[in-house]
């Protein structure tokens, strides 16, 4: 799989993961834009979702987010999350 395809797949997986595991109401995965702000005004996620995403990344991708200051940048949008996953995930 090319890097581009891999990134697209990660984005799809992340969107499905957020909708399913954060129990988002009335949102379908494909409706989330890649650059949409996830927290606050955008998708409306909050502090509890943030710590839940930490666990989801750990469980689904084996990734550790060490501190929430780092998390704030990573969790900005699907784009930033997907890049973090692509760069840090262990080679399968």
């Amino acid at each position: 799989m090319s890097k581009v395809e891999e990134l697209a797949q990660i984005k799809k997986d992340l969107k499905e993961m957020l909708v399913r595991d954060l129990s988002l109401e009335d949102v379908r995965p494909e409706e989330i834009k890649d650059d949409e702000v996830l927290f606050g005004e955008g998708l409306g996620l909050d502090s509890l979702d943030a710590v839940e995403i930490v666990v989801l990344l750990q469980r689904n991708f084996g990734l550790e987010v060490k501190n929430m200051d780092q998390g704030k940048e990573i969790f900005r949008s699907i784009d930033t999350l997907a890049n973090f996953v692509l760069e840090n995930k262990k080679p399968s």
Binding site: D46, S47, L48, V51, V54, V55, M68
Partner: protein, 393 residues
């Protein structure tokens, strides 16, 4: 509101800071926190905790650590009130707060059920006998109202507030009130997952605070109507003047950033006590050392009392004892009034520019007639207790 005076005739406290109120006072003077590695259970997580090391054997109840902790503190408080033998003569209510003891969360039981579809029921039977207030009421033969408050981190303070309501409504003459909680792996994992536990000893209100440490213990007050105390020849200069409680109606885990519910709770507690913030000598704050709690709470305390108010968090000595915290801190508040001084707020080094006040950094004398203990709970509930001391002319 009805202003029937309610005296505090006994105090009992058991935590990592000491097995009795006197031990605790000595620890406070020494300034030495009692936190360290967890020994009560195995966990790969390495957050320090504040364990009770010397729970007297007399009070041990197999598999019911929270009840055991509560019984020790209740006994101390009843001793001070000279009520140990006298209790059955009165209408005695029991209102205690907890978090862990209310949950059926025995990991061995559940592991067995998960893997085999069956499990020995002893943990369930113990749980069904372990309703905290009922277990204590049975142990001391109290026959008045009995209620366990499960309001997360404000449970102990709320329980004392409920007991005040009972006494003022004539539902009992004496109430055993406060809170107890044991250190358990379940909330230990849970608080870690919320990202609010510190790998270092906690530093309430400090600029560089990293989160809370869990603790365990029990804090109990004996409350009684002045008529009842007079009738049995008991007296006390300490009294419970007011209780206020308000919900933030904001978020499941985060406090309202401006501490809306806490500010209203303080106003309610003042109204019941018939005092204003200027009458208050010090505040025993909730001060868990999480970023959010201390910021919201510090803002409210500075706004209500002014930035010069003497504030301390005792979590640096006890850790966050969850359901016990409000009970323990009510005892510490009463102790501060009685001793006329409060200890330095353990763990604090540098003021946070985002918090408009700093806690007391050395042992500080207090001479005021009133002090306040605040509690902010998970779930957005807030509680404030006003405790008073009658100054003899």
């Amino acid at each position: 509101m009805n202003s029937r005076p309610v005296l505090i005739t006994g105090l009992g406290a058991l935590s990592a800071a000491g097995a009795t109120v006197a031990d605790t006072a000595a620890t406070f003077r020494s300034g030495r926190p009692g936190g360290g590695p967890v020994t009560l259970f195995d966990s790969p997580l390495a957050y320090p905790a504040f364990e009770v090391k010397d729970l007297p054997r007399t009070f041990l109840r197999e598999g019911l650590r929270t009840v055991s902790l509560a019984l020790a503190a209740v006994d101390e408080a009843l001793q001070e009130a000279a009520l140990v033998k006298e209790l059955p003569k009165f209408r005695v209510g029991v209102c205690l707060g907890t978090t862990v003891a209310s949950q059926l969360n025995d990991l061995d039981f559940y592991r067995s059920y998960r893997s085999t579809g069956s499990a020995p029921l002893e943990p369930v039977e113990r749980y069904l006998k372990g309703n905290l207030s009922d277990a204590v009421a049975r142990a001391v033969n109290a026959r008045g109202p009995s209620l366990t408050i499960v309001n997360a981190c404000s449970s102990g303070a709320d329980a004392i507030g409920v007991a005040l309501t009972w006494l003022r409504n004539g539902l009992c003459d004496i109430a055993i009130a406060g809170g107890a909680d044991e250190l358990s792996r379940i909330p230990y994992c849970g608080f870690a997952s919320l990202g609010i536990m510190s790998a270092e000893l906690c530093a309430p209100f400090d600029r560089d605070r990293k989160g809370l440490n869990l603790g365990e213990g029990a804090g109990v007050v004996i409350l009684e109507t002045a008529e009842c105390a007079a009738k049995r020849g008991a007296s006390s200069d300490l009294f419970l003047a007011g209780y206020g409680s308000c919900a933030d109606a904001y978020h499941l885990t985060a406090p309202h950033p401006e501490g809306l519910g806490l500010e209203r709770s303080l106003a309610k507690a003042f109204a019941q006590a018939g005092i204003g913030p200027g009458d208050v000598g010090f505040v025993n704050a909730h001060g868990t050392a999480t970023l959010e709690n201390d910021a919201a709470e510090g803002k409210v305390l500075a706004k209500v009392f002014g930035p010069g108010i003497a504030v301390l968090s005792t979590k640096g000595f006890t850790g966050h004892t969850l359901g016990a915290a409000g009970g323990l801190e009510a005892v510490f508040t009463a102790l501060g009034l009685r001793e006329g001084r409060v200890p330095a707020s353990a763990g604090f080094r540098n003021q946070d520019p985002l918090i408009p006040l700093a806690p007391v950094q050395k042992e500080t004398p207090v001479s005021a007639r009133f002090a306040v203990s605040t509690s902010l709970a998970f779930g957005g509930n807030n509680a404030a207790l006003v405790i008073g001391r009658e100054v003899k002319a």
